[in-house]
Structure formats: structure tokens, C-alpha cells
Amino acid sequence: MKKTKIFILFIIFFVFTNKIIFADSLNVYSFIQKTAFTNQAKQFNKSLWEPYSYGINKRIELQSFLLGNLLMPNISVKINLIKKNNFYLSSQHSINYFTPWLKFWQGNGTGAIISPETDIPKLFLIENGIFVSYLINNKLLISSNLNMTLALGTKINRLYSIDMPIIYNRFAPAFENAVFSLKTNLQGKITKRFNYMATFDYYYINSNQFSNFIETSIIGVFAKSTRFKFCLGPKLVYGQYPFGNQINILPYFNIIFNGSIKSKKTR
């Protein structure tokens, strides 16, 4: 019942909140969160798997997984530092309190993915990164992002890590030391309605035993309108997990929704 309510809230939030002004034309990028670009003032971007991003002004953008806040209060700020010709440089700073999220998955019985016998301490994930983007031409944008993620608080015993693709490397700071990541993506336009993105993400987990993770994907983006985009593509994940090395090919699906909040007109 609780989950149904969350789902309904999610739909309401997605469909009915905010007054939308249609963007003028398709951007070369579909995933603004993966670039050094920031949303314009009052413009927003939402998607299933990326955080909600909202432009405070031309240079500063706030990001948050809105629904995720229920279990994992999180906030992130991206600041555009340099915007010169076709070159953009931004920094991003995030904080996540993810103890409730881990506790949600802990327990006895079916559905519990973390063993009940361990104590989950108060833990904050701190992430700092630099984004650079270079607009090669009107149809091609290359972006890179160097990140360091640390956990503040007592670490959880690594016996209880969640050894699953995608999840392990993202939550590794809770069990291991710092995680460094270098992510590069190429976003481009094919036609008026079709965009694409190719990504190559490398994670290095600073640990004694397991260290390297690679995620790479080629994603096709179909623009239903200037507001809605549907994304689909394969994602290849390689990881050095506690049980050994593993490669997974995973399906990637996403819906991106963007627009801006209309200001109230004053007479």
C-alpha cells in the first residue's frame, strides 16, 4: 500500500506539477547531468535514473533524486566555472545521507538484500567532481567528469556489501575507501528526432582486494517532443567483485522530461 501511494505520487509529480513552457528546439545533449552544462534559470530536467536538476541561475543548478529523498536524503549543486567559446567547465558537489536506504534493504525474510546481523551506522556520501564539455559542432558534444566519492562515518563491514552490478561500485564507499571515477560521454544528433549517447565510465575503488569497474553503453534517444525523450540501449558492465570478475550486458531504458517553470505574470 505504501509503495502504491509512492507510485501515485510519482505519477502526479511527473505529469501534473509545474507549468511547462516548451523548449525551442532539441539540444545536442539529452543528458544534461552528464555534461558541464547547467540548466538555465527556472529550467528543469527529470528522468527515471538521473537526478532532478533545476537551474537557479545561469551558472548554478541544484540536483536531487526527489523520490530518493524518502529513503536517501540527497542534494547536489553544479556550478559552471568557465564558459568560453565551445568549452565549458563546472564543478559538482553532493551529499547523500544513505543510512535509511541501507536500513530499508536490511532485514529477515524475502526482499532483504542486506543481512540483519550487521549494524548500519550513520553514513554520509560526499561526492566532488569536475565536469568539462566541449561542443565540437552543432551536432556533437564531448564531456568528461572526474569524481571522488567518500563516506563520512563508520564503514560497514565489507562482508555485507551488495555484490550486484551497477549497485556495488556506487555504494562501495560505504564498505571500502574512496571511489574515483572517470566518465566520458559523446552525445550527438542524428536527425531532428534522434539523438545518441555513447558512454565509457571507469570506477576505481581504493581497496586491498577489488578495484576496477567499467560501464559502457550506446544509447539511442528518441524525442517524442521537445519535452519527452525515450532512451534505450545496451549497457556493458565489467566489475571486479568480491567473488571475482564478471561481465553483464544490461538493458538501459530511460525517460527524460524537461521544461521550465513559468513565472507568474504581474500586471
Binding site: T110, I114, S115, D163, F243
Partner: protein, 361 residues
Amino acid sequence: MNRFILVIIIFCFIECRKVSETFEPIEDAIIYSADKQKNNPQPLNEIKLMSWNIRFGIGRSNWFGDACGLNTIFDKNIVDSTLNLITEKINKENPDILMVQECDVNSKRTSYVQEINFILNNTQFNYAYYGPVWQSQFIPSHGLGKMDMGIVIFSKWKLENAKRISLPLRSDQSAAEKYFYLRYCMLQVELNIEGFKSVKLFNVHSVAFSSDDTKKRQYDFIKNEFDKIKSDGGYFACGGDFNTLPSNSIKKDYCIEDMCEGEKFHDTENKHKEGSNYLGEDDGFNQLFYNYNSSLSLEKYSQNESVYFTHTTRHPNNKPDRRLDYFFTNYQWIQGTDTTYQDAIKFSDHAAISVKLKLPK
């Protein structure tokens, strides 16, 4: 249950491959060999068989799945030290063939210790034949995570035609439980020693916690496999954890002994604890006793049951209180060689058993 649905949705997004292995009726067993081959002489007239449910190398620790335990994941040091004690015992008894049940090869609960390699490299065995019973990328329950557990036949000599044969599945579970649950099996290998007739060796681990007729269906299935060998004029020897009592056992209901704090049995709501009441299981299992030679006859067992007990869930003095492990053959055991190692229950929740098989000429 809602959390379970969420986990399944996550799986749909992140896993293209099968999350849990379901297995064909007959599959090739997985073969392992020791890092360093040991020189073992060919047997003269007999071989010593040993069977042991090693409880995946956690000794007498309080696992959540049985013994009223609370723990799910065990540290590598605990597993390694238990395996050291287990291999010491194996080396002391020096069997030619070892049938092991509940052996983890790459499971989160045992810190991903490769238990087959550990035993191979610390004993006189050169080869191991593995039949997985519980193989899942991720079990979304109690934080179990990745699981790979099964039954193994260890041998000093190379064996042939190693097969994993699926036993009938439980029919008293929901589809989701069934998908992630253990898929019990028997392992078959062929021992071919020059100068002797071929002997098929079986390792069996049958269901423990079913509340339907699964045990009977499994015993019927096992008997059917034995019957086929017998009718072809062949020979077999089988050892394993059959998870039931001899039909002439004085006590058959262990619900009170196995009861955990807060549990209640033998009332109108909770009649019996799963896996602790063995009443009504004689029908199928007796057929094995009546048609084949057990290393421990029912007559011998009835004379002094307690010295033949091989299992306990949580006996305070770690003394076994029931017999669940057996050997059967359609040939001959060497008289007086049947042994129950009750001291070995310190390293598992089962005691090891052994017997010598006369090799057919």
C-alpha cells in the same frame, strides 16, 4: 512482500542472464582437480567410502537457516578454520572416496571461499566432481546474496561419466520461493579400476524441509535409478544425507528439540516444525532398505540407536540425536567396517560416516 517485488523489478533492469539456475534433468557434473597431483596406489580389493554433510564449513555457528541462528554471513577466518578441522578429520580417516553435501564454492555467506579447492589441496584427493544444488546470482532474502552450493564426490583417482541428476522439486512453495530455493540432486560417477568391474558411485542430498510428498517422490526416484543399474547387471554404491530416519527409530518427532524461542508446536495452529517431524516418511525410504544393502542394517541400528546418530540441530552438548546419513549398495560392504564419527559433529551439524566396499570382480 512489497520489498520483494521491488527487488524483482531491479533485477529486470539490471540482469539479462538467469538470476537462478534451474538445471536440466541430467547435466554433466563440474570437474575440479587438485593444484598438485598426489600419488595414490590403486586399491587391492576394497575402497573406503566416507559421507559427510559439512554444513558449508561454518561448523556449529548459528546460521539463520537452522538451529535458531541469527547469522547469515560468515567471516573467511571462521570458514577457513572449520575447513582445516574438517580436512584434518578426513586425512585421519583417509577415505578413498568422499561424498560431501552442502559444500560452498563461491557463496557470499561463506565469504566466497572455494571450499572444493580447499579440500582438494589439503587432502589426498586428486579430483572432485561437483553437482550444484543452489546456484543463484543473487538471493534477495536475509541478505544471502550470491549462492553456489552443492554436492561433491572427491576421489583419489580419476572417475568417469560424472553426471548431475535432478531430484523432484518441492511442490509446497510459491513460484517465487521455488525459483530461488535449493534444487536437490544426486551425483553419479563411474569408478573403473583395472581388474575390477565398473562401479557407479552416487552422492545424494535429499530435501529437508518439505511438508508435502517431496521426500517420497525423491526416494522413489533414487530407487528407480538404482533399479536401472541392477537390471542392467551393474553395481553401485551410494552415500549421502537422506534427511530421514530409519523406519524403526523410537523417536520420530523432534519439533520440541528443534523449537526456537517464541515458537510453539503440537497445537491446533502450528502442528509441526518444518523438517523436524519425520512421521509418515517410512514408505518410500524403506524401499531402499528392503531392496538394497545398507551399511547399517535396521536390526543393528535398533540394538543401540544413539551410537549411530549423525545429526543434531542445536543439541547443547553437540551430541547427535538422530540418524540421517546412509550408505546403500547392490553389492557387498566389508562386514564390521561401518563407522559413525560422532566426534566430527563438532565441525558441522552432521557426523561423518564411512564404510568399506568390496570391489566386484
